[in-house]
């Protein structure tokens, strides 16, 4: 999978490495900004109140 992405990135090894880094950072950004805030309330790690439900 990652090998396939690497082979299809344009440019020489340096350009590919740089593009990979940018892609990885973009993925981390999307995770922190959108995916984790959405997932967190669905997981039972951080409920602090008592309630009847």
């Amino acid at each position: 999978m990652y090998g396939w992405i690497w082979r299809h990135l344009p440019g020489n090894a340096w350009v590919k490495a740089l593009t990979s880094l940018v892609l990885a950072l973009a993925v981390v950004y999307v995770l922190f900004q959108y995916v984790f805030p959405w997932a967190e309330p669905l997981l039972p790690f951080n409920d602090v109140t008592v309630d009847g439900q």
Binding site: M1, G3, L31, N46, V48, T49, V50, D51, G52
Partner: protein, 225 residues
């Protein structure tokens, strides 16, 4: 034959890469929960705290319930002042504040003649304002600062583990703490054990005295150690 083998090897390697990816994503989620949410929450809380402080700068005045009703100081938790706002929904608490209950049992404000001032805050992440709740022992002070009054409470009972359905801990007279008469109580709730929320940790305190806020906002003796 060789092609079929290549194909199987390819499928297995994609599967392996997916597993590694899942591991990295879970690791990042831990970083997010325990570090990044604190960064964001503390930033938001600092901003709100300075707004309230600015508004109070004119000296003592009537109870101010806009954007936070006051500050909680718990010397035993060693985390300075915690802004207290209305409500305990995640959106409020995620900003690094403590919230007073409006549901399922509404809290009594400290200024009320009798009742239970019930609060919740995060144990981990989102500012983790009640992270050190286990350090509170009987006799420790909990000080709540409003615009014009310091309310000094003393811890008299802790309940290290209870069900999240146990809403009775929020009652105006919290019988589980051993009290049977109406009084001016404070209840802190958060999750336990640390890093999960299987149970709830409860700390009860009772009002010992109040002090008027003076022009210099001189804190009560409990905060001057």
């Amino acid at each position: 034959m060789a092609r079929a083998r290549d194909r199987i090897a390819g499928i297995i390697s994609v599967f392996g890469e997916l597993l590694i990816t899942a591991g990295v994503v879970l690791g990042l989620f831990v970083v997010y929960s325990l570090w990044w949410t604190n960064v964001i929450a503390d930033r938001a809380a600092d901003k709100e705290i300075s707004q309230v402080r600015d508004r109070w700068a004119g000296g003592p005045g009537a109870l101010d319930t806009k954007d936070g009703i006051g500050f909680l100081h718990v010397p035993a938790m060693g985390n300075g002042e915690v802004l207290v706002k209305r409500g305990t929904d995640p959106k409020t608490l995620n900003n690094g504040v403590a919230g007073y209950y409006t549901d399922p049992v509404a809290a009594a404000l400290p200024s009320a003649k009798r009742g239970n001032f019930t609060l919740a805050a995060h144990r981990d992440g989102h500012g983790a304002k009640f992270h050190n709740i286990h350090k509170l022992k009987n006799g420790d002070s909990i000080v709540f600062e409003t615009k014009d009054v310091w309310y000094v409470y003393k811890v008299y009972k802790t309940l290290p583990e209870t069900s999240k359905y146990n809403v009775k801990v929020l009652d105006p007279i919290p019988k589980e703490s051993g009290r049977t008469k109406a009084g001016r109580y404070i209840t802190l709730t958060t999750c336990t054990p640390i890093y999960t929320s299987d149970y709830r940790y409860i700390v009860w305190g009772e009002l010992e005295r109040t002090e008027k806020v003076d022009r210099d906002r001189t804190p009560p003796a409990e905060l001057r150690l």
